[in-house]
Structures are given as C-alpha cells and as structure tokens.
C-alpha cells in the first residue's frame, strides 16, 4: 500500500540555524468511536506516534490520539548541527509504519 506523505524542510541553512520542519501524512485517523451504516463499530485506526531524528539524534517526537485531525500535520523546529539527513517515522494501529527522509546541507 502506498502512503502519501510530505516532509518539508529547507534544502540548506546555516549551521546552528533554527529551521521549521513540516510533516503531513495521508491517514483517516479513524477514532474507534464511529459506527457504520449497519451499526458496527469502525475499528480504531490511528497514527499513534511520529518521531523525527537528525542523523539518529532526536529532534521531536509526538504521541497522537483520536482528537488529532485526519491527515495528521505537525510543524516543529530543528537546530541544524551540521549537514545531514532528517528522517521522520510514523507508526500506528494495524501495523502502520512509514518513513520519509530529507537531506539538509549546512552552509
């Protein structure tokens, strides 16, 4: 199953500069509280966690609950230590897992 996700970061920034990172992933965030037309409870299907690391070191992590809107969007900030690779991993119910990476050059 292909997952649509967007990881937005500047391609380059000065060493030590604070840059905004935006992460968006296509996902219904089914709450587990809704029922279908037959009255059956729709099983919970959430993205539960997001973790952003820069060359392995933690930048930002999020624990998400049903009250996060569908297609979870998060914006946070990285202090760029050097050139490297930013990787964002999402994980959720039903074995959901996805990762996106973007390289950021320090100037």
């Amino acid at each position: 199953m292909s997952v649509r996700a967007l990881l937005h970061a500047p391609a380059s920034a000065r060493r030590g500069e604070v840059v905004e990172i935006r992460a968006l992933i296509a996902h219904p965030m089914e709450t587990g509280h809704r029922r279908d037309s037959e009255g059956r409870l729709l099983p919970r299907d959430l993205v539960r966690t997001l973790e952003a690391r820069f060359d392995g070191e933690l930048v930002f992590a999020a624990e998400l609950h049903a009250a996060v809107a569908a297609n979870p969007y998060l914006a946070f900030h990285l202090r760029l230590p050097a050139s490297g690779l930013l990787t964002v991993r999402w994980a959720g119910d039903r074995g959901f897992a996805h990762a996106e990476s973007v390289r950021i050059e320090a100037t």
């Binding site: 604070v18 029922r35 952003a52 690391r53 930048v59 999020a62 009250a67 809107a69 946070f76 760029l80």
Partner: protein
C-alpha cells in the same frame, strides 16, 4: 438534548447512511485527570505557555492549533494538548529532543463540542505550566458519525 437531536438529524441528512451514536464524552474531571497524569505530581500554573487557537471554530474536524512555550528550548521537556469535550481528553503529547530548535509546535485537532482546550508544558525542573482557551464550535467533528 434537543440540540443533539437536531444535530444528529442534520448529520444524518447530510451524511446519508452513517448511523450516529454518541460515545461517552470526556468530562472536565476526565480532563483534570489527564492533566494530572501529564503533570506527574506538579500543580500546573498559569503562564509561560501560549496556546493559539480560534475562539470561534466553524469546522471542528480540523482546527489549527499552535503551542509556544516561553522558556529556552533545552529547558522544555514535554508539551501536551488536552480538551474537555471530546470522547477522550488526550489530544497529543510532544517531546522535544536535544536537536529541537524552538519550544513550539503546531498541529490540527478535532473538537466534538464547544469547550475548553488546555496546552501544558513540563520544564526540566519538573514545573508544569498551562494556558486554557474556551472554544465555541459551530460544526462539530464527526467523532459521532
């Protein structure tokens, strides 16, 4: 109850086949309990946290929300969002790592009914700070249908 019935009717008319069942709603008590779990024994104090959210929301399905903490980023351990009137009080908990650049986060949340939204921040010294905003929702999130 009448308002709920009307909203159900509207939802049914609009959404067609979806059966609408209202789950047990989180209460102010449930939200206080969630705050207590986050605070870990500390008593949250007002201040140092800025919660930016519209006070009048037309569409509760996706409500932009931003939390900024007035503290050096390396002094901020965790940030949380909780709410009173969704089926469960927790919205999200954020952890700032060693490479975090600012004690700020933005996301989009759901609001099932009008009520209080509280942003919390836990600092490295264990103190917990909060800001509450009361939000009026005209079209609730479809957590119910």
């Amino acid at each position: 109850m009448n308002a709920t019935t009307t909203r159900r009717s509207l939802l049914l008319a609009g959404a067609g086949a979806l059966l609408v069942v209202r789950p047990a709603a989180a209460t102010p008590e449930a939200m206080r309990a969630a705050i207590g779990r986050f605070a870990g024994g500390a008593t949250p104090r007002d201040g140092r946290v800025q919660l930016t959210i519209a006070e009048l929301v037309e569409n509760g399905n996706t409500v932009p929300v931003e939390v900024t903490v007035d503290a050096p980023v390396d002094q901020v351990r965790r940030i949380a969002l909780v709410t009173e009137h969704n089926p469960s009080p927790e919205v999200a908990v954020f952890t700032l790592g060693p490479l975090a650049g600012r004690a700020a986060v933005a996301t989009r949340m759901r609001l099932a009914t009008s009520g209080g939204v509280v942003a919390l921040a836990q600092l490295a010294d264990g103190s917990v700070w909060q800001q509450r905003v009361d939000v009026l929702v005209t079209l609730a999130a479809c957590v119910e249908g």
